[in-house]
Homo-oligomer: 261 residues x 2
Amino acid sequence: MAKTGDRARTKAASALGSLDFALDRGSPVPLYHQLAQQLEAAIGHGVLAPGNLLGNEVDLSVRLGLSRPTVRQAIQSLVDKGLLVRRRGVGTQVVHSQVRRPLELSSLYDDLEAAGQGPATEVVRNEVVPAACDVAAALGVPEGSEVTVLDRLRLTHGRPVALLRNYLPVPLLDLDSARLESTGLYRVMRSAGITLHSARQTVGARAATAQEAARLDESAGAALLTMRRTAYDDTGRPVEYGTHLYRASLYTFDFQLLVRP
Amino acid sequence: MAKTGDRARTKAASALGSLDFALDRGSPVPLYHQLAQQLEAAIGHGVLAPGNLLGNEVDLSVRLGLSRPTVRQAIQSLVDKGLLVRRRGVGTQVVHSQVRRPLELSSLYDDLEAAGQGPATEVVRNEVVPAACDVAAALGVPEGSEVTVLDRLRLTHGRPVALLRNYLPVPLLDLDSARLESTGLYRVMRSAGITLHSARQTVGARAATAQEAARLDESAGAALLTMRRTAYDDTGRPVEYGTHLYRASLYTFDFQLLVRP
DNA sequence: AAGTGGTCTAGACCACTTT
DNA sequence: AAGTGGTCTAGACCACTTA
């Protein structure tokens, strides 16, 4: 029988034979995360090409001086991201897809991401009003209680792309219009100590009214994308409700889905 | 000092003190999955109410006769689903949200889910054609090579809601129009041994052409929701490309997002 | 039969939060 | 100071795939 220590290459040459991973045990970054980052970088750079096998987890853990559960945790995080696929009895492979770096799951950050392509925001309205029925229901406050309403016009390359309307519980934070023109709402909320946790979105479409068309530089009756979103913090309390309009000619939602096993 | 065996209730009475979990070690279902299912059921039934603490992981593992990593794996899966929140130094709580059972992430299965509300499909076209430019690019086949094109009209409650157009690589499977009228495309693919793994979607809007309007029982120029989707199997190979049209007056996309920590 | 990932254990130490 | 989750270890046995 082969000795345990004999780790000559098995049938499938592991694609990362010469790859060296620099793990810093003194770093506050967990080891499994360091490993995951470096694996992801290797995939991103093409060092690990689609279809390549990773080599079995036991050898890998020995080579890296880690325990197998730690190596598994790193690999699992990339499987969850859709970069790797595991097959029992076969091995772990780099996924074989054309869409290598997809848009994450995002779309919660669409406002912020848009900032990469010519950001501009105009705060049209920022005041406290009594909550209407739908707003009260979404935010979980009594109807008629005070909420902040925020209307913004978002532009890219000097052209209007979206009308954003948001409602927030008043006690949450005070909204500085100036700051809101230079950054996204979520960034403002985050720096106020509000950590977003989940959101529920509904995307639809309808024709523009004359007034909407005028603001968005479209003709009346043009198709608009609509989005309603309620966002929740850590504890599940609603912290924001928004009803937004996007010019369909300039904007689409795209996202990647992973099928849970 | 308190003895180790002393597991009288600590400061926060664990909400599942009297809950009994039936774990079957003989079952092929993993223990962590059995535990996760029963926790999820307890949350669903309201036995574990929002805000309730779960009790610390060490005690829990002792009570259940499991190791702590196994208990953690069960809890983690529910955290990933958005049902639980962990806080270091505090504990694990049932999330405090109004939207308890959201639509999963779904939307890949929208066709199938729709079957719950008055399903009907009419196969309008099912034939082999040479691949156009965009189709070839999406499916990763040479332009002009043969692909199957499938046009379907989807109705609910007797009214048309969507025009679905799908392209598939020919060698993949042969599509039985009769079966496609009684179930969804993905179900047919699945029973042919094709396991979907991920998909990339783009949602937009535009006005209906006269022909589209006629088919969908809308007036010309009405706002339609558009969806383009490419779906991939385990290995990352594209297995389906679809361009769909939905009546915005009858259909919206909704989904839940979780923010990655 | 050999090799792979899937599951599970029984500990350990650390970082963070609350009292 | 006490209690919590976060990380990590060094093994073990099993189920599945391939040859």
